[in-house]
Symmetry: C2
Subunit: 389 residues, 2 copies
């Protein structure tokens, strides 16, 4: 049988903070969201590495993807359910060298690792928001990150960097705060979610809704094992297929079976099924189903051109030199989308470079091909640093 | 709210037969399945079009895909929940010209449109098999089809034709009954299910299992609306993404929304979501959740080389001239798999031709590109007919 999974894998107040620091947002008034909702007493969890230079010119904001969090670098444990998701890239002497640069990563609004999200206590009754949590957008996340920037004393980022949902934040930074970004590095991302991307994420949300233990979003007082972990794990299983590539699955699993087959049974597993179950369960242990709903919805709503007089007008606000990267085997955020980003920026006269990462890993290549990604990042950061501006 | 969906969309004894005819299989002894299970008093629903020639040399077997059935051609209604799935291709004067050829299509074993499957009455208690139904394989389906061939008086098929799961049957016909097939037309299919294909179908099965109304497979006495239709619809929604292509979704839906957005809500739908829901619900109205489990498992188990001393040995048994077709935009059964089939047959010295269908429709191109598919089929059938053998 499947192991008993927690009701939510969210970090909660009282849990060990680990490397987390906290900034409080708009205590005097509600934080009004793009979608019309509002949040009060928003907490933002963030982490930093390295030291901010006296002139504040060495700060790099790293934006995390769907199931990432502020723990971009560092070890597992002590309040962190995973090792840093870009630990291979961020650190002393690494590509984003924390001896040289001051690195900040903020858990996104609506997330579940310290920043206010659906598992967080509602200020009215100190019970989890659950179904009361409003929809957030990438723009809301970026506005919250700008507050953290103020909090840590960064007027202008040397670079804003991120992949997938992180890359959406990077692009929004470029549009919303052109004067606060000296360069941008959007990776494996898109100007606006495509119909197929919406299809993938929206079916994931429906999978969670299908789990009766989701209970309309109000499940936090369920007994252990009686939360929507199965629905969350299932949603992750499907997305895990889209994160990787066909070749990789063939090479790694082929038609290997978990138990030797003598007679066929419906639930007998091939190795690839065990792999997907492993990833599903692993996420359910450290994530929150409602956050998964909110953040995937934020990705579906991602459209740089929305309410800005169209995409061309929006992109025109981006002036920062940019390094755009894609992964050749990515079928979730195919490389034509990153080429489109680079093309649009080029059309603006922005100093832009497009680099394609060679990888069998699919979308997750932006996390796994740390040598290629790191080398590009490192060189780009050095160039930006040396540039006049 | 969603419309109320039936507990099962299966055809049941007593429902109008429509064009269905029935053959009974092995009444004197159980039909022992490849996977070790057995079935008694198996009924096979099939349809025919045209007339068998006096010498019996004009018979074409058409094998259906996952959610197809014996109704390959003909109208909707009168016991048929859909128009013929290849009605554009099969009929008088059409590509598979029923004035010239005698066409047979059999609902597969484990299916739900007349042939014995999990919604059928168990001979012991006349209650639906439900969880008691054993796993079936493509080879079991083909053995059952061979019984129908005997029943209708066909010793040797002029051609066995089918796409996707139908193509798996075509390949098995070539291996299991080389003397009974004069030619083969496998379309958009594979020699053995790949790890990614297993990943897609196995997560679909888990989605049905996640629906508490599936109830371990015993749901047939549930009240209307209280069956696992939501789980089945969800499984279909995900597979519908894999059946089509990214370009098609972008062109057809883009980022259009169903309801104009004023403020964002979690369950507000983009058009692509409505489309997927439509296809999910549509399938739930005419299909059975347990059949979906069994047939997708049969596809995962599909491996021409199993228990035959490996793939090369298995393929070596195929001697029939073959037309192999793939769809260029298919990412579920990518064209390299059909090229592999053609290459393997060529290595046998088989007279084989590989044709790639140009289509934006993805995997479903084999159903939708009737002009291209039909023209190839028609010409091939005429050639086979004229050939010496």
């Amino acid at each position: 049988m499947r192991p008993q999974l927690p009701v939510t894998g969210a970090w909660r107040p009282g849990d060990p903070p680990g490397r987390r620091q906290f900034a409080r947002l708009a205590t005097d008034r509600p934080f009004v969201l793009e979608g019309g909702g509002m949040l009060r007493d928003v907490e933002l969890a963030y982490e930093t590495w390295g030291e901010l230079s006296p002139t504040g010119d060495n700060a790099v904001l790293v934006c995390h993807a769907l199931t990432g969090d502020s723990h971009a670098a560092g070890e597992l444990g002590g309040g962190h359910a995973t090792p840093g998701w870009w630990d291979t890239i961020i650190g002393p002497g690494k590509a984003i060298d924390t001896n040289r640069w001051f690195v900040v990563c903020v858990n996104v609004l609506g997330g579940c690792q310290g920043t206010t999200g659906p598992a967080s206590p509602h200020p009215d009754d100190h019970k989890p928001y659950g179904s009361r949590h409003p929809v957030v957008t990438i723009r809301d996340m970026v506005r919250a990150e700008a507050v953290v920037a103020n909090h840590v004393g960064v007027q202008r980022w040397l670079a804003v960097v991120g992949g997938s949902m992180g890359g959406m934040q990077v692009l929004e930074w470029g549009v919303m705060f052109p004067e606060r970004v000296r360069s941008l590095v959007p990776i494996a991302t898109t100007l606006a979610a495509s119909a197929q991307q919406i299809a993938w994420w929206s079916t994931g949300r429906r999978t969670i809704r299908l789990d009766p233990r989701w209970n309309g979003g109000d499940y936090y007082d369920a007994e252990p094992g009686a939360g929507p972990s199965e629905g969350l794990a299932m949603a992750r299983m499907v997305s895990q297929i889209t994160f990787r590539s066909e070749d990789l699955f063939t090479d790694r699993f082929g038609r290997e079976v978990v138990e030797p087959i003598e007679g066929f049974e419906l639930w007998q597993r091939f190795e690839v099924e065990r792999y997907l179950e492993y990833h599903g369960d692993k996420l359910a242990r450290r994530f929150d189903a409602n956050s998964y709903l909110l953040l995937t919805k934020a990705m579906d709503l991602h459209d740089l051109g929305r309410a800005r007089g169209g995409m061309d007008n929006a992109v025109r606000r981006i002036t920062a030199p940019s390094l755009v990267m894609g992964v050749d085997s990515d079928f979730l955020y195919p490389t034509y989308q990153q080429e489109t980003i680079a093309g649009a920026l080029l059309g603006n006269g922005v100093d832009v470079r497009y680099v394609e990462i060679n990888s069998p890993h699919g979308h997750d290549g932006f996390l796994l091909e740390h040598d290629q990604v790191g080398e590009q990042l490192h060189d780009f950061l050095l160039e930006v640093e040396k540039s006049d501006d």
